[in-house]
Chain length 386, copies 2
Amino acid sequence: MSTQAEHASLLIPGPIEISDEVSQSMAHYAQSHVGQPFVNTFGETLTLLRDLFQTKNANSQPFVLAGSGTLGWDLVAANLIEPGEDVLVLHTGYFADSFADAIITYGGKPTQLKAPIGDRPQILEIEAALKEKKYKAVTVTHVDTSTGVLSQIKPLAELLQRVSPDTLLVVDGVCSIGGEELAFDDWSVDVALTASQKAIGCPPGLSITMVSEKAINVFKARKSPPGSYYASFKNWLPIMQNYEAKKPSYFATPPTQLVQALNTSLKQILASPISERFAKHRKMSEYVKSEVAKLGLKQLATDPANAANTMTAIYLPEGLTPPEILPKLMSRGVIFAGGLHKEIATKYIRFGHMGVSITDESRGEVDKALKALKDGLAEVQDAKKQ
Amino acid sequence: MSTQAEHASLLIPGPIEISDEVSQSMAHYAQSHVGQPFVNTFGETLTLLRDLFQTKNANSQPFVLAGSGTLGWDLVAANLIEPGEDVLVLHTGYFADSFADAIITYGGKPTQLKAPIGDRPQILEIEAALKEKKYKAVTVTHVDTSTGVLSQIKPLAELLQRVSPDTLLVVDGVCSIGGEELAFDDWSVDVALTASQKAIGCPPGLSITMVSEKAINVFKARKSPPGSYYASFKNWLPIMQNYEAKKPSYFATPPTQLVQALNTSLKQILASPISERFAKHRKMSEYVKSEVAKLGLKQLATDPANAANTMTAIYLPEGLTPPEILPKLMSRGVIFAGGLHKEIATKYIRFGHMGVSITDESRGEVDKALKALKDGLAEVQDAKKQ
């Protein structure tokens, strides 16, 4: 039995559709945050995250906090960057600007390396930047939700190992973790941060972060105290370690129902090999992109190698705007998002294809969305001709 | 039909039991955070909070953020206190220490005025402190969850108006808002902060704060930028104003299901006059306290005027500890909390009596808890005698 009323398919780059089991977990009865049943669930959830992020280093540290994805930037900027330290911010859209703002708030000095819209900074440029200055960290948006651009993490990690091995590699994985391949240990990632409502398939309200042993040691060697209270590793580290050891512990009350939902979602995800999940997302993304091309529409991503597998940012035909087309999709039971990148927000729409909408093909949501897009465009264009 | 499986009654000082309707709202299907249906719900929720806090000033500003109650301290410390400014922290237990830590994190200088355990700082002492130094703000824990001590807000507000009218009155209402009388406008409160899982009767995961026009103006006159990114009024103020005006707006994704649950809970609370709700909590608290006294047990609160109406902190009989008695309650279907105040944590237990457990007498939870306490104590004491 579905607990979810009939509703339009939410195919934006997050929040995404959730499974019935995840939805039921949200309705969990009230639990004590320090009672053993919840402590066991939270502890297990933290351990499951290690599999999701693909880390086997027992000293990697997962954090799950009540908060939006944005809180992950505070975690990085307030704990791993000290005032006056330089950070190289690789810019593929809106989210790099915001991450840079967060870094400035806590006294760090971001240097943005910007790519043209739809592209990403190239390895040679990044190498040149790294050789100019000593950076405490490099931040990269794995999937920039504003442009649908995918950054290549592995070559970046290799570059860092080669030219600046002390620099921390921070991956904003908000629209990637659970949908795009990310091998935390193998690629030597130091921080991968995300939110519950993207490719992890949970409702919004959780900030989820994996921190490497190296980054935890960098934190422990800080000269200044963390710049945030709520987002302080100092406050949360013992709590997360205690929960994972199934010991009750208190700093702030965790959102018990959201943690139940995350637990359910992670178990669903990890019931199959994670590589299969990534392959499904890649395959469906290729299909979406080829169908979009057949409609004569261009993507923001300038090259297939730059294109996310969890979403597609699509330029509208000349003269059409999101407020014209989105209601036509809605009337066909499909919700896409409008543009987010300031410079071109009125020229494109965004189609999120992650989670159960991809893994459960019986939902038929991708084809429903593509048909809605085709028919909706035709309707708007016919109306314009008259 | 109840969506909630059979479970022990959660009677700790939060999280608390939730109504079936609130639980069902948690299972809401996925919604776009910028789609009109959710925007309308969030906007209405913010407006409903004005009634809960009893403010009719259109320039009072509600904030609802994904986060634990703790995040409210960051909101205050990072936005309303500038580095180097003094804050008078009235201490009635654990939570003043933590609030002081949060203030220090953002550069403020807390001065704690401490009362003995079970008591609260007296008006004459506070007056003397206020005359010694210029304080940017006074913080007070309305109900200190660690001790069950109730602070008197109205006389404190009157004192401030009289001797230091520029000083902001900041009420930590985490275990009070929705259960204890608080008249935001009439008492000239500047900030009242709380969390969703206490007397508001919602699951944990929302930081809920009301800020006065005066405090917003103090924020706007800041010389330094806010000390937090995620908890920045600058980032959230336009978003909250837009949502309340039913206009989509984006800084970070709100936890849509939790907002649905809060909306449901607020409608349930506000369906009756709020004064009746406070009266019910007072009446039931008096009953609990008289029954506890009949069992020969003492409260932490040294005087009935110091005692919260939303919870009771109860000393155990000499020689008994929480790990001995709490399992006996659990076996009778009742969950109480252990001690939290470091100095005496092993000597007392805490009984939360808020929300549906109070307003819906058909649940019978208070009497069930009192009987469990009586029988559980007898069982432990009988076993000790043998």
